[in-house]
Amino acid sequence: MRVDTGDRAYDWVTTAFASMVPVLLLLIFTAVGVAGWPALREFGLGFVTSSAWDPVNGRFGAAPALYGTIVSSAIALVIATPLALGSAIFLSEFAPRWLRQPVAFTVDLLAAIPSVIYGLWGIFVLVPIVRDHVTPFLRDTLHLGATPLFSGPNYGPSMLSAGLILSIMVLPYISAVTREVLMAVPRSQREAALALGATRWEMIRDAVLPYARSGIVGGVMLGLGRALGETMAVTMLIGNRHEISASLLAPGYTMASLIANEFSEATGDLHLSALMAVGFVLLLLTFLVNAVARWLVWRTARAGAGGAR
């Protein structure tokens, strides 16, 4: 039948296009994995535990990059999560209706600014402020200079600067998810708590937040996924040094910025393969974090749609 052919062609095309999504993911994993395999085979598990990065002698260890990725992301989350949570609570509980859209819009717009622009702003604005005002304040006024976290020379580009710019970049993602999740909490929960005599804050703490907890965790993990993979702004602010240092003021490296810096000038096949292997580790890490995050958010959305727990 004529009708059948059109339907069949349409179904075939849309199914084929939809299938390209998992195929693309598979291609990415395969291409990067196969390219990184020589280095992984050469160094084994020591690849992620060794700190040596010696292109001349052919020894590569990704431990400083892995350490830097985790530490800079941790700093970003520690700063961004309370701010995102606080502003999301403000928007869903306290803000007057006319203020909601503008504030939410302003926070969400942070996500639209390209990473390289954050890097540019970071180099010329944030790093001088951190170097000349924030660090002396932390070291001398708060006497944190005695701790190993804030010891060492104060160059400017550092784990702290990178963590700060990451927190700004990650804030809109956590905020958007948290906001949606908080607004999905049914009014009956809130009203029940208030009817029992709770103050506004107690209502939020005991009735709203526990209900939204897995969604909030999902949002934070989404932010973590972004922070782990962020390249340009971090490359411009982290100082690019292959070393693990206890001090937050020391320059460091992340996996993404390592690849960005050394890829076009890689000397030799093993160097390239090592960079690909770093890329594979990064890919795996962000894939897992994003998958868990999406699952958590999806689970909260389903529970919310299904009614009160």
């Binding site: 999504v21 693309l24 990064l282």
Partner: protein, 310 residues
């Protein structure tokens, strides 16, 4: 005999009658309530502070970009080629054109596949493939863009032994696919089933219903979503670092390296020359203006559609 009087107990002595006991309890309750209310007010103030702090970075970044970028942004910026080091002025004509070419290639790949996949997801909601694709598209959206870059390098640049605009465009297109898929799905879902059923009842075959009726109804939203994806892609630098690679000279050839606006901003920003820094700010201003204008327009368009439509 002296009697040592013990000091009065901290708590007021329990009075003999029930009335007094209730008063004492009421006083304690009032104290606790006051403390709880105070705590609530403090936390409320903290959330106000958090919201204020959350809006601060955007204002700070945009202000600096405008202040530093506007002086260097002359009309010649869009038409002139980069000036040699040490000379002020010059422009980013090759980078702006390069970005437009890359966006064209990316769109040619990302839009058809994304819209097709989005249509599939919206129409076949709960099949195994649909659930998988939806989940994986969301995960793909969160993957680092540098990984997309090395992926495109491995598959395109290495075999061709050449950096090329094509490789850069394909890397960007691959990033566009999951974005456009999800926004298309959401926009097509908004089309009421009644419309589809009416078309089917009138004898339209299923494929024509989807394309002529459903797709056309959702087209505004789909275009908005596509524009937002293009805006996000326009600012991406990492995938281009080793695919398009950047180019000092004027080039529009697809098999040659090509300049791009974010790449140029990056190169100039990390350079040690003040003139180049000024150019970087100007380029950043152009880029941010482009991205923000599209995002703003998309927001306004979606809100109007949601308010006036279903």
């Amino acid at each position: 005999m002296t009697v040592v009087l013990t000091p009065a107990p901290a708590r007021p002595p329990a009075p003999a009658d029930g009335e007094g006991r209730r008063d004492a309890m009421a006083k304690r309750t009032r104290r606790t309530v006051r403390r709880r209310r105070a705590r609530s007010a403090v936390m409320q103030a903290l959330t106000y502070l958090a919201a204020a702090l959350a809006t601060l970075p955007l204002i700070a970044v945009l202000t600096y970009i405008v202040i530093k970028g506007a002086p260097a942004l002359t009309p010649g910026f869009f038409t002139a080629m980069p000036a040699p080091v040490g000379e002020a002025g010059g422009g980013m004509a090759n980078a702006i054109t390069g970005t437009l070419i890359l966006l064209g290639i990316a769109g040619a790949i990302g839009l058809p596949i994304g819209i097709g996949a989005g249509l599939y997801l919206a129409e076949r909601r709960a099949t195994a493939l649909a659930t998988t694709v939806r989940f994986l598209a969301d995960v793909l959206n969160g993957l680092p863009s540098i990984v997309m870059g090395i992926f495109a390098w491995e598959l395109l640049v290495k075999p061709m032994h050449h950096f090329s605009a094509l490789a850069g465009g394909i890397a960007l297109g691959a990033m566009m696919i999951p974005m456009v898929t999800r926004t298309t799905e959401e926009m097509v879902r908004l089309v009421p089933d009644a419309l589809r059923e009416a078309a089917l009842a009138l004898g339209y075959p299923r494929w024509r219903t989807s394309l002529s009726i459903v797709l056309r109804t959702a087209l505004g939203g789909i275009v908005t979503g596509a524009l937002v994806a293009v805006a996000r892609i326009a600012g991406e630098t990492a995938p281009l670092l080793f695919t398009a690679f950047g180019n000092q000279f004027w080039s529009t050839a697809l098999r040659e390296p090509i300049a791009a606006l974010p790449l140029q901003v990056f190169t100039y920003a990390i350079s040690p020359y003040d003139e180049w820094h000024a150019q970087a700010w100007a380029g950043a201003l152009v880029l941010v203006a482009l991205v923000l204008l599209i995002s703003l327009a998309a927001r306004v368009a979606t809100r109007r559609r949601h308010a006036g439509g279903e």
